[in-house]
């Protein structure tokens, strides 16, 4: 256990800071973009929309986009935290599990084979692809021989294999259907550009419900994180609990992938940061993870918008560039312990 008891005042300070960060991210996201809108005008337009272009930009474009980014960021981060807690595996991350590769591959298949299909169908397709990929990786890593076989290495290797398999499938489609796949390349890299209110409403129930359930179950994650033997001796129904929480984690990740595409490493980066701040108690680290995850992805999206105005840079790439070195660092540390 790392920092077991943080003083009450320290916790209050950290959570106030996280809320402020989120607020700041929200305001920046509404004000910055292809055109800049002053903060005072944003505040005014937010509560009193009018017919001006600025008002429409805020309400029709930036608000849904920001909310999607925040929701997806929170969901991905919480998903990572849940999976890490349940598997007691610091490398459990929806990206590493192959959820994102699965969703992306499903989208590509849709674009190539059903070019006439409405883009609304991308959501369930990515969802299905993500769930299947995660199930494959998780069940492969979960050795049939012994129940405690879910080591970081096994999980990482299973994820790599699933990602290679999906990568090969994706490349096959791209090579055999060369030109049609061009348009899908952008979607394969994760972005929240142009997300609409409809898309937000499509995933909001899933993600919102998932986040609330995750908060309610935070105490159970604590029990599971102690290890199955201790958890059982404490009277927890470990098998059922861990299955429910894992499913919750995968649903959160797949739901976000289906609307923002593959955005890796949020589920790895944010939970580790949150645990470093408030310790391993999930009743504290889980809400903090959600707050930080939301703020992180919103800020990353703002950066993606302004770095090359008015062109859009896929936010997933920025996050990957920031997160991958952290992954290397983590791998180094875990490798020493093992």
């Amino acid at each position: 256990m790392r920092k077991a008891g943080l003083p009450q005042s320290g916790r209050v300070l950290i959570f106030t800071g996280a809320w402020l960060l989120l607020l700041l991210a929200l305001l920046a996201s509404l004000a910055l973009g292809a055109s800049e809108i002053p903060l005072t005008r944003v505040a005014q337009l937010l509560f009193a929309p009018d017919d001006s272009t600025d008002s429409l930009v805020v309400h029709a474009l930036r608000l849904p986009r920001t909310l999607v980014a925040g929701l997806a960021g929170a969901a991905l981060a919480v998903s990572g935290l849940l999976l890490q807690g349940v598997t007691r595996n610091p490398l459990a991350d929806p990206g590493i599990l192959g959820v994102e590769a699965g969703g992306a591959c499903a989208i590509l298949v849709m674009v190539v084979f059903f070019p006439a299909a409405p883009s609304v169908l991308f959501v369930p397709a990515a969802f299905l692809g993500g769930v299947l990929a995660a199930a494959a990786a998780y069940s492969a890593a979960h050795s049939a021989a012994n129940s405690a076989g879910l080591t970081p290495l096994r999980l990482a290797l299973a994820g790599v294999a699933v990602a290679s398999l999906l990568g090969a499938a994706t490349r096959s489609v791209q090579i055999l259907f060369e030109t049609r796949a061009q348009g899908a390349l952008f979607a394969l890299s994760g972005s929240v550009a142009g997300r609409t209110w409809e898309q937000l409403w499509q995933v909001a129930p899933w993600l919102g419900l998932g986040l609330v359930l995750a908060l309610l179950f935070a105490a159970r994650v604590n029990v599971l994180a102690l290890g199955e033997d201790i958890a059982s001796s404490l009277g927890a129904r470990t098998a059922r609990d861990s299955a429910v929480l894992t499913a919750l984690g995968v649903v959160l990740a797949a739901g976000s992938v289906s609307v923002v595409g593959p955005i890796g490493f949020v589920g790895l980066l944010v939970p580790h940061a949150a645990r470093a701040l408030v310790g391993a108690d999930h009743r504290l680290s889980l809400p903090l993870t959600a707050l930080l995850g939301a703020a992180f992805l919103i800020l990353a999206d703002v950066a993606a918008r302004v770095v090359d105005r008015p062109a859009e840079t896929p936010v997933g790439i920025l996050v990957a560039a920031a997160g991958a070195p952290f992954f290397v660092l983590l791998a180094r540390r875990i490798g020493r312990r093992a």
Binding site: S139, L157, L165, L176, E178, A331, G335
Partner: protein, 338 residues
């Protein structure tokens, strides 16, 4: 973790298996010379091999198919040897050249090379890939070393850092690709792992590497057996573990790097072949290695022949077929292994 030294794996059995595999490889090679997008009657192929036949058949068989068969065999054998050596060193049956930065390094280097120097002379791409393969491996080695620690190169960390570095390099490659103009994707088909376009020059380029490195890997078999016993036992037997690991890894990466220049990254061959070899002749490297070489050669030749004849005149890269077969097998192995 590996197949035990069981009495049913005798030298006689190994010889028999090797004989059968060699015969199969010969037969498939002859078949591959006769198959392709353009139909060539068996009699004509036979005549062409002995200097007769019409000029078209001679061109098809001697200039297009023969070098291709040769490169398939050599690169398959080299990937297999590389995988066998790496699995021996890392003492994990799931290690393979794909997982220690070789593939991702080659991919990134080739992408950057094409973008930075679009007018590069043909044939430069494989060398960029070779440099990238070594660069990726060097990075993994550098990051997994425990500076100042007694235990210089812990195998688990090597594998984990390999996965992480591959992810990081992959993210950077993706960043470059998404921003790249049309056509780069097509130019990179090479990386999928394919023997497409192999000519006599490429054969001569790969041959010296193979002639030096394949025997070298066979000479390593005793060292690998000792390393496989674990660190303490190996030290007890008078082996200096870390130098032995480095030397073996160096040979493994050189094999993979040379194979990459011949055929791109043929996914999972380095994993599949040694495993099948162990199933057939047991875990002793003096028997596993030669059988792996034959199996790797056979595997790649079969994949390429199938790829050429599946949808003529369209070419399905051999690397896609090996990955589509190899990745599920990897997951299966992972699930079964304790």
């Amino acid at each position: 973790m590996t197949v035990p030294f069981s009495p049913r794996f005798t030298s006689a059995r190994a010889l028999l298996v090797a004989g059968i595999l060699a015969t199969l490889t010969m037969l498939l090679s002859v078949l591959a010379l006769g198959l392709g997008a353009v139909a060539t009657p068996a009699a004509q192929v036979w005549a062409a091999l002995w200097g007769g036949g019409d000029s078209l058949t001679r061109q098809l068989v001697l200039e297009l198919r023969l070098p291709r068969v040769g490169v398939s065999l050599l690169c398959g054998a080299m990937f297999a040897a590389s995988g066998a050596v790496m699995q021996g060193v890392i003492r994990n049956p799931l290690a393979s050249p794909d997982l220690i930065g070789v593939g991702a390094g080659a991919g990134l280097a080739a992408t950057v090379f094409l973008l930075a120097w679009p007018a590069a002379p043909p044939g430069g791409l494989p060398w960029a890939a070779l440099a990238g393969a070594w660069g990726g491996f060097g990075l993994v080695l550098l990051l997994s070393r425990d500076w100042g620690g007694a235990d210089g190169l812990p195998p688990v960390r090597l594998a984990l850092v390999g996965v992480a570095v591959s992810a990081a390099l992959g993210a950077v490659q993706h960043l470059v690709l998404v921003r790249a103009p049309d056509g780069l994707g097509s130019a990179l088909t090479f990386l999928t792992g394919t023997v497409y376009g192999a000519d006599a020059e490429r054969l001569w380029r790969v041959l010296p590497w193979a002639l030096v490195l394949l025997p070298a890997s066979l000479l390593l078999s005793r060292t690998l057996d000792v390393l496989n016993l674990g660190e303490d036992l190996a030290t007890g037997l008078g082996t200096r573990v870390n130098p032995a690991r480095l030397l073996s890894l160096g040979v493994g990466v050189a094999l993979a790097g040379a194979a990459v220049t011949g055929a791109g990254l043929l996914g999972f061959v380095g994993l599949l072949a040694p495993h099948l070899a162990r199933l057939l002749v047991g875990a002793k490297h003096a028997r596993t290695l030669p059988v792996s070489l034959l199996l790797g050669a056979l595997l790649v030749l079969a994949a390429d022949t199938l790829g050429r004849t599946l949808l003529p005149p369209l070419e399905v890269p051999a690397g896609l077929l090996t990955t589509l077969v190899g990745a599920p097998y990897f997951l299966y192995l992972l699930r079964r292994s304790a």
